[in-house]
Symmetry: D4
Subunit: 218 residues, 8 copies
């Protein structure tokens, strides 16, 4: 694509045949680059496999062609197990867009000890993707622990007052932690693209500014 | 009032003269009980002082008559300094409705160390009132730290996607911490009443069930 | 769990196999404690029965392991027959979380005589859970009759202007009865947890403050 | 006007001079009929008085010219004292449109004894106008007590989740009491017009069908 | 029921067996009165027929037992052919609640000549039920043609900006024609009940006030 | 401007000095073309007059420089007197953008006779601008009377359920009359631009297709 | 129809049999004019074919009878491939309503070069229909390139914050390009009707005012 | 602060005295670091100047203490002149958080030539902040031109359907350009923080991947 990024097929609303054909066509044009297909049904995953694609069933995604050399590191952090598909879509999207990726799940705000246990990992990343549904509180807590660039992804997990993810979306936009940037509900793909662009351009970690001590805060 | 609670004057939309007159009338009827007035303007506070009331300017409230003997303890926890008026309204309302009260402020989720420092205090209370604006994340974090009954109060602090407190309200209702009960935006009064009713009926602390260890969680 | 409460499996979005497996695993870890599974499909209920769980088909819930000794009493009050599943989820959740429970149904506000007939029962409870859909008026009426701590549960019963339960939710948050605390739409579970925490810590009823006479009100 | 109703001046957004001039012009055309002006500012009321109008300061209305002979009876019932201006607008509007009118205030659902005390009055009316803000529960309770035609008026009294009267509006539209018809927020005028049209055409009370006993209900 | 109205079964969410059983039980209690069942599925209609009920398939309703003697007249006016089920529910509900009923359909505001052709019929009714979806404009036009009491029913006909009937609902509440009272989206039943209560108590038509001439309006 | 249209100054949020200076600058560049300023305060109108502009106080607009030769005809139709400022903004905008303009006001849907009296005028126009607040019904009625291109402008006139003009906006978008195109709330300017572009390019009226007879409709 | 336009059958909610019968009936009445049916299911398309209609499967439409002589030209511009059905409905509707039509697709704002490549075509049209989902940005960009009358159609393409097309709708109504008029979500039909009315009445292109140079803009 | 970022005073709701005092206190603690104050009133700006702060009146901000050495480059792009205050807040915030900053204004989507003229500048930046109100289309267009990380800021510029900035917010979240991350309405501060974190960690430009040619796109 014109922006230097890989081709991506948005699978929602496409037939398995369409998915397979578009994957094959794009792959033939640039066999040395990966093509990504997202939002695939079971049949869409099968059709993708049929043209030789590698499947990520949790993310409901497939890739065809070699992944780029990873540069920098994106860390995907997810609150609950129901958020796993969105986290996986973010991770694969970031990887396909040229970043290295790690994933940490089940670190919701109602179980802080698990989050605090991965605190060093947060600090080592070049960009964070933080995925949470329901009240969408996780980005605020993570954003208070580190100054690494952070993209928040609200998910549609929840019911009633969760409004299909809109509550988590509004909450993340209202975060009291500064610098939290937000993408659409369930948009792991968009978050992965943003994070990969940040991470793959990041300088090596050794010139990172030291974190000021907590007691500095008035 | 019929429910065994003190009389309360809702000051919004009332003239200072009306506030003063209603306070005096209700006090004369039961001089041995406190009357509470909330949502007072500066002039309303002055008028209340003029009939002998005790003022709480942060809470924008006044009381007239002796406060009841405190039974049990309500702990009010507030996220930011802008949430202080709502926290103060909750605290005074709980106190007037018969509970003992303590207040902890500035323990927002983006600064977890301050919250973790008061963890023991949370556990010792008979009921918690948790006040937060913007993304309203604090009740989820507190609710993950303790099993004490918890009432959450969203505040109208914030702008844009905060929707005047509605985002915090929806977030608290969607909390991933179980048992969080919620009152209206800025309704410190309602939270204080609920919490006082719980606390003043609570048995002494020594029969509290021991907290299970963190590693029990699958 | 870390807060001293039993383990709970949220069945929505889980396969029957997942439900059965999680129930069995959690039960094996602490055979002396109950595990609760909620929001089960018919197949999920069957799978739970298959690992020895006790079913509550109205609540769409199952429990595995011995229930705790009941302490205190939660009274669940529901407006209409369509609200029964939510009321049952609240009741079972409260029971599993350590409280004794009673349920009264079909006491909607358009038939006051039925509600007034159970007035004494309301007063004897340690905590009330009030369940209603459509306009969600019942908590206001009950809250005007008693000073017992009250948690309101809006249900998604209704159509059009009921907005899938949001109208009842907003109405309960706007209640003119003081001290009404509210949980998410159809969240019987959350209400049951809050109520159980209140009830199991409540002192015996004999020290309850006498209700002031109705004529006290100005 | 073409529908056989009196002329009405909507004062909102009009200058005092405009209000006075329109009142005088309409009155000159039909000196034997009343003209009604609503939503008047203090200055608008003064200007109306200046052309000889009779003022109703609570309703923020004025009338010029003789009121019609009252036919039938409209009973206006209001929940709280803050609802008084809307109730007064409804009452005067009904009176100007040809009905007799009575008003009962402060009969909110959190104080049922006051409402039950006026139960016979409800039954004697030809049409009810029920005014309430906040959660808007009163029409459901009144509608469960009587089969008299009932128009509900939500008011903008409340804050936060009351959404400026929209919550009461939605609640009234979702009422579980059958036959409740609703007008716009704070629209006492519209309710008064509807109720007067019903009442002034009603047959005398003696042919009213007897109320079935409560125990008939399954 | 306690308000002097017939028993009504709300069929939504009930099994055919439940519908049949409730109809039979209520009918057995008062064989001389009609019972109404609404919102029936095809299977529900069949089950109702199986216990001897009379079906109204357009309205998706059934009645069991003799209809009451009609008193007064309700005229149901519907905008489009898609509004027919709601109009039929209103008509049958009004009839079961004791009024005579006539129905006029396909008189939408984009074809005024059809509406103007029935103008005299509007004037002769004791109460109007006006049913419309999409922009919900019909009540305003009808309300400008006559001073007969008018209940408006928004329907869920439309898409996109029609918001499932909410736009028509809001439009009807905002009507520039005075005295329009509104019920919930698709709530033909509620409109029929209100209209029947008005019509069955109305005095004979001969004492109707003459309509003032159009040129009176300033 | 690049689209061949005149320069327009949006006065909202600009100081009187800024308005005057921009008007003068733009006028100096092309003294033979009109510049339009909209949304002016009283002081803004004065400042515009100070640089020689012609004022339209009802529209809250000013023009500087000669208006173009009028081509074609735009007819602006407004429902109520409160809609006059928006109608005037639409009319002046259309005129400045090159069309001839006529305005008809006070033809609301609750007084059909006034609208029907101007029916021939509707048919003669090259484009219609239909302005209405509250329920926004007028475009549907006008759109049912003629096949002339029609742009609808919702206004913020109304209260409560009118939602500041959003209800009229949604209603117009849901119009049952085909071909109604809509602009933003109170956006007389946008409607005037669209209508002028249509009218100034329209062929002379004599080749207009004859209107089919009403009885053709099935 | 009375406005001089062809008959149109709205297929949504109609059975295939109803569609076929209405098409045949309307066609028999005026065999020399086309009848249009929209929103057809696969079965509806088949049924239409069965009575001799010509199908447009992308648009989900059918026509029966000869199309009118095309006058003027409507250009339909669509952002993405998912917008194709709405674009096709607009195109066919415009054609059936008497205009010539061309369609350009896949010119979304994130690929400006494709849009700029068709710039001359935009300028040559008599009316533009611009179709876009998601953020609905295309009409603003097109409206900045040309002064041709423009109707925007938001589509329901998107998820989460796209709110089923409402975001695109609101965005188009808020367009910073002047003169953009908007129809309902997915309402290709309404846009086609508006555009055809404009185009078929437009004078030949040779008298079009020359576009001012870009550097004129201050 | 704990995240390695400078201290920031949120001026909204603070008195000028409070602003001055907090600035002075924070500055005294770390005289070698800048403190930033945002959302200042005129009086707040004066008070900040009184303690020696440097003012940015367009941004309504002040800084006290030396700015850090700039690392990397943030480019702030704004659509309209009304968006200038938000753009300036973003620019100053990014600068205070350690990045170099440039600003380009008045490049709205309705005037593409101005945007295309700065295309090279977009490509050279390490992070983009794109500010737009009304329909919020600019991020989609910019995001289609470059693969540089992009943060979008919706502003509250607009009226009616713009919903105080919520429409632009939703549009940006729905952007068809991949990788657009969004902050709250008018939150230039948050965007500046995110962008500075990205830019100050970015590697030098010379290793940027070449942009693929436009014709690659299928
Ligand atoms: N701050 C508050 N928020 C909500 N409700 C309140 C508040 N203060 C008082 N009230 C309620 O208002 C009632 C008194 O209203 P009023 O008679 O208007 O003074 C009390 O009985 C309380 O239930
Ligand atoms: N179509 C309807 N829409 C709204 N409410 C209805 C409808 N039909 C019946 N009802 C109400 O539902 C009640 C019966 O509910 P149920 O006991 O669940 O059958 C009746 O008393 C009516 O008030
Ligand atoms: N796709 C469409 N979207 C909106 N309105 C439509 C559409 N197709 C037809 N219509 C309208 O529906 C009317 C016919 O409705 P009906 O009589 O139910 O078939 C036509 O006169 C059109 O005004
Ligand atoms: N313009 C702004 N918008 C949003 N948040 C801000 C803004 N300015 C400052 N803040 C945040 O407000 C915090 C300081 O709040 P306070 O202690 O009330 O001055 C800072 O740490 C920032 O995170
Ligand atoms: Mg979560
Ligand atoms: Mg907070
Ligand atoms: Mg209910
Ligand atoms: Mg009330
Ligand atoms: Mg309609
Ligand atoms: Mg109007
Ligand atoms: Mg698009
Ligand atoms: Mg903009």
């Amino acid at each position: 694509a014109r922006t230097g990024d890989p081709e991506v097929v948005y699978g929602a609303g496409k037939t398995p045949e369409q998915v397979a054909e578009i994957l094959a066509t794009l792959h033939a044009r640039h066999p040395d680059r990966a093509v990504l297909a997202t939002r695939l049904t079971d049949a869409g995953l099968d059709a993708a496999a049929g043209v030789g694609a590698t499947l990520d069933p949790v993310a409901r995604c497939a890739t065809l062609g070699p992944l780029p050399e990873p540069r920098g590191e994106v860390l995907v952090v997810a609150a609950g197990t129901s958020d796993a598909p969105v986290a996986a879509e973010a991770a694969l999207s970031a990887r396909v867009h040229g970043a290295g990726v790690r994933v940490v799940t089940d670190v919701g705000v109602a179980g802080l000890h698990r989050l605090l246990a991965v605190r060093d990992e947060l600090e080592r990343a070049d960009c964070l993707v933080v995925v949470a549904g329901m009240e969408g509180a996780l980005p605020s807590v993570v954003g208070g622990l580190t100054g690494v660039p952070l993209v928040a992804v609200p998910t549609s997990v929840g019911y009633g007052a969760s409004l299909g993810g809109v509550t988590a979306l509004l909450a993340m936009l209202s975060s009291c932690a500064p610098g939290v940037a937000v993408v659409n509900v369930d948009n792991g793909y968009g978050a992965g693209v943003h994070a990969a662009r940040v991470a793959r351009r990041a300088a090596p970690r050794d010139d990172v500014r030291p974190t000021a001590a907590a007691e500095d805060r008035p």
